[in-house]
């Protein structure tokens, strides 16, 4: 069964989203580094939707789903607003961002570097940002193997 969280488009709920995703990943026994990165990617995606698609309008909502299929963890952020081009966005050079003294421009860059696959799908009047990360097969960790 896929559990989901629906939250208002207000930045104060980003912590709630992170807690929800982290708890689902803990239930799936996803290791800490991958879990932290997936939580970060979902946080970035939701913050983008809230700020740029909804202008932090607290009456709008986002729906977040986390599930696992085989060796992949899927996270979906569903929004009723036209999607930002997460899957085709060309990240800016960091040096240029520093030179421009810009505060933004890093979030989508992070998502694209963290996740193995990023898609934007249209689903019955909604847009879904689908973020996919491959997970190491369960078993002794590399650290444990090295130590052994």
């Amino acid at each position: 069964m896929k559990s989901y969280l629906r939250v208002r488009c207000s930045k104060e709920y980003l912590a709630t989203i992170r807690d929800f995703v982290r708890d689902r990943l803990d239930e799936m026994k996803i290791e800490d580094v991958a879990s932290h990165q997936i939580v970060l990617a979902v946080d970035e995606c939701c913050a983008n939707c809230m700020i740029h698609q909804h202008q932090c309008d607290g009456y709008s909502t986002l729906e977040i789903t986390v599930y696992r299929q085989g060796d992949k963890v899927y996270t979906e952020v569903r929004d009723n607003m036209p999607a930002f081009p997460l899957d085709s966005y060309q990240p800016r050079e960091i040096d240029q961002i520093v030179k421009d003294r810009a505060k933004g421009g890093l979030g989508i860059n992070l998502i694209r570097k963290i996740m193995d696959e990023v898609k934007v799908e249209e689903q019955k009047g909604y847009y879904a940002y689908v973020l996919i990360k491959k997970i190491e097969p369960e078993g002794p960790s590399q650290t444990a193997l090295a130590a052994g």
């Binding site: 800490d32 580094v33 946080d43 960091i94 003294r101 505060k103 933004g104 890093l106 860059n109 992070l110």
Partner: protein, 116 residues
């Protein structure tokens, strides 16, 4: 977000507490902006009580780097957890000029602010 500020001999230490995300990082932004506007560009940020950082938090530091450097200042970050250091390194921010990220073992922050 709580941010403690301590004036050291040659620099200012800021110690944020909690998560640095799109909601909370505005407070850190205001603190650094005030320091930079006052010409206090020797800035140390102690991450020992920071539990999370997103791109909004990173953006605060990145957006002041050029100005701090142009004023002859320095931005030094210390006591980052592994997960937070990972976020900086994913984007290569750990290799930027004028942004010094200390390893957990390095406690002597003051040596990075020797008066030039």
């Amino acid at each position: 977000m709580e941010i403690r500020q301590i004036q050291q001999e040659h620099y200012v230490t800021l110690s944020p507490v909690g998560d640095l995300d799109a909601h909370s990082s505005v407070h850190l932004d205001e603190k650094i902006q005030k320091l930079v506007e006052a010409g206090k560009v020797m800035i140390h940020v102690d991450f020992s009580e920071v539990t999370y950082i997103s791109s909004a938090g990173l953006g605060v530091f990145i957006s002041y780097l050029d100005e701090i450097a142009s004023q002859g200042g320095q931005l030094v970050l210390s006591q980052l957890s592994d997960n937070i250091y990972d976020v900086f390194s994913i984007l290569g921010l750990n290799k930027l000029d004028h942004l010094i990220i200390l390893s957990p073992e390095e406690k002597e922050v003051a040596t990075y602010f020797v008066q030039k």
